[in-house]
């Protein structure tokens, strides 16, 4: 009768050994063969938005290069929390990735009392994708043709100008809060459900100002529907040399820029992260990708290793933490 447990033990031992060998073999095979099945890029926004367009453009190049389909899964809602939570809880095998704007990582942690994911611990930053510089635009009826004019106007008549945002704590809101904090100007925030309805009301003159992606500002400003006062990049943009920066207009150090990155759940094998990073950088530097996707929208490609991207996020998060504290923006 004692034989059975012994046999069982031996069997279990052998099975364990076998499993371990198999697992090791599979793991190395997985790393070599990645991707062996379709990859899902989770997008925390509705189809058609900027995040979605970036994810689809990158996803298409990924799928051409990998020879495997790349599926875009839109999970909008709750300030990116639904998508972030979903990816954080996915298997860390490189087949479920998150394409996200900065809000998920650099803003939400300071804005919300409680989050359904841990921005720092649940994810590995894989690669930065693009930066979108934000422009300060005004309705043409506003008697200000430069940032200096605007500051003077806002100070002369404190609280008379309204600006549009795309939600409490959105970058459109926080950039203007930062602008107010640095200039001492007083403006009134009017919140909208998205950038386009706010932009419509600026064009129509119901409100006067807003920060919006430079790509959305150039055409209406050429058509005379908007005044493009300045762009929030550190230096003038190479393809818009005539547009001054806010920094050079008397606010040194001011930067209003959004960025989008690729993230994997924590625990994703490093070789896969590196492989994805290298591929992303290759895609972003392809001349055809630049010409088709980046240049027409004034997107600036981001370069660098996963480590450099992590450091960039950390610096950006510190900036937003400061802005949120100074402006006292709270969301419960």
């Amino acid at each position: 009768m004692t034989l059975v447990p012994q046999m069982m033990n031996a069997l279990t031992g052998r099975l364990l050994l076998l499993t371990a060998m198999l697992a090791a073999g599979l793991a190395s095979a997985a790393a070599q063969q990645y991707p062996a099945k379709p990859i899902t890029l989770v997008v925390p926004a509705a189809p058609g938005g900027v995040t979605d367009v970036i994810a689809r453009a990158i996803g298409q190049r990924f799928s051409e290069s990998f020879g495997k389909p790349v599926v875009i899964e839109n999970k909008p809602g709750a300030s990116n929390q639904i998508a972030a939570e979903y990816v954080a809880r996915s298997t860390a095998d490189g087949y479920t990735l998150l394409v996200s704007p900065e809000a998920t990582f650099a803003i939400n942690p300071y804005l919300f009392g409680k989050l359904h994911y841990n921005a720092a611990a649940d994810f590995i930053p894989v690669a930065g994708l693009v930066k979108i510089h934000q422009a300060l635009v005004a309705n043409p009826s506003v008697p200000a043709h430069s940032v200096a004019d605007l500051i003077a106007l806002a100070k002369k008549d404190a609280g008379a100008l309204n600006y549009g945002t795309y939600g409490v704590g959105s970058t459109g809101h926080l950039n203007m809060e930062m602008f107010e904090a640095m200039t001492g100007a007083r403006l009134v925030a009017i919140h909208y459900k998205g950038a386009t309805p706010a932009l419509t009301d600026v064009i129509a003159g119901h409100i006067q100002l807003m920060f919006i992606s430079i790509g959305s500002a150039v055409q209406p400003s050429k058509a005379g529907e908007l005044n493009l006062l300045a762009v929030g990049s550190k230096e003038r943009l190479p393809n818009l040399p005539d547009v001054p920066t806010i920094a050079e207009s008397g606010l040194p150090g001011f930067e209003a820029v959004s960025w989008f990155g690729l993230f994997a759940p924590a625990g994703t094998p490093q070789p896969i992260v590196d492989q994805l990073n290298v591929l992303t950088q290759r895609v972003l530097s392809e001349p055809s990708f630049r010409a088709a996707i980046l240049d027409p929208q004034y997107f600036e490609p981001m370069a660098g290793s996963p480590q450099e991207f992590s450091a960039f996020i950390k610096a950006d998060a510190e900036k937003w933490q400061r802005v949120i504290r100074v402006a006292n923006v709270k969301v419960d």
């Binding site: 058609g48 689809r56 839109n74 999970k75 459900k193 386009t196 009301d201 129509a204 055409q219």
Partner: protein, 528 residues
Amino acid sequence: MIATALTDLWYGFGVALEPHNLMWCFVGVLVGNMVGVLPGMGPLATISILLPLTFGIPPVGAVLMLAGVMYGAQYGGAICSILLNLPCHPPHAVTCLDGFPLTKQGRGGVALGITVLASFVGASWGITEMIFLSPVLVRAALEFGPAEVCSLMLLGLLAGSTLARGSPLKGVAMTVLGLILGCVGTDLELGSERYTFGLTELDDGIALVALALGLFGIAEFMNSINQVAPISTRYTNVGLRDMRPSKGDLKLSAFPMLRGTIVGSLCSLIPGTGPTIASFVAYATEKRVSKTPERFGTGALEGVACPEAATHSSVQGDFIPTMSLGIPGDAVMALLLGALMIHGIVPGPQLISQHPDIFWGLVASFWIGNILLVLLNVPLIGIWVKMLAIPYRYLYPSALFFVCIGVYAANNDMFQVGEVIVIGAFGYLLLRLGFHPAPILLGFVLGPRFEENFRRAMLISRGDLGVFVERPISAVFVALCIILVGTQIYFRLRGSKADLEPAAENDGVAAASAPELTAHHAPVRPAE
């Protein structure tokens, strides 16, 4: 201006009739039409599924196809509303009110025929408007600021709260319930959560698709479980003769179609007012102007023709701000612009001058696509009506299956499938108690837009309520609100004695508790 528009349109037809573009347009309307029939699978889900397919084809073909999916889906959307009381897409929810009673009377085929016609009329006007009037209309649309939209929404709420048949008191109660449901989600100005019970999934409010499908589809499904036999025999009783609208039917629905078209095109101009609001407002208007409002809800053809025309003219009209300003009217339009961006084309005011092939090709393809849809749908009516011959025990469970898929596809989220089931169970309870769910949807759609714009108008005017009467457009809407409420009170006061007695005969209990009940507003009782 008209001459240039015609030259441009001619050029557009040249683009749209190129064989490959024509093919993509046909593929788009066909797929859209087929998918539109499935409950819950709206154009948004379909376009986002098809989007990757367009990477390989030229931008003109891609846009033609995706736009085709969009208006094609609207044609298909009315079919299940009329035949199964399942609004495939929220704008068609209001079509259920009269479409389904028509089916019960065996006139589902006629209703579908009228729908195809109304759709074509509505769409044709929408396209014409886009060709000749878009620069003027865009300017007019920009006049609608927060104060104007707020007053307009108030008018819509007041006019629409007696949308459904039955006691006005119950109607108002349901509108208020809709308003309350519309409060769920994140407070726009403060960022704090309201009635979310800590559920992240409710942060952006209750999904409109889930509400429409739950209240109409699931609730009706549960309500009819006990009456399988009588209804299914009545369903299949559709003779060949009944499929074509008679001359009388056409005469009856001609003016409602035109009125619906006008309402739809007006709604499409006001930023962010999509086809759902258009179809509800159109139905409410039609009921107001009708000489026989008591027929509405019992199978009035006007109640099908008018909102369908409005939906289609609004959908086509939505392209005006989208294409001329680069400002999408709704989520589907945003997705179309996203598709353009992936092809490296930046939407904006200069799209028409920089990419005339896309703009005018698209406009021309609308005509071609709509004609294709009519040719496609008229022979299909017979097949759709045959669908009702499928035994209830197969038909409804499969419809429910598609409801779940459609609701899931809207956000890739199981939570919304749960939402639709809970709302459905609740809707069943309401139906049983004689409350009609249509005003809930109205309150839900208009309420948040009223609140949002009211607060915005107040912030901009620094708390001065006078803004609503100082701005001329807003003042007109406010005046209409006052006239509407005033005449209502006047007629009630004057006619209260005459109306009370027959009402008391019909339904003593209801009349006692609701003295303003009138004879023709006898509560609807679910057939038992």
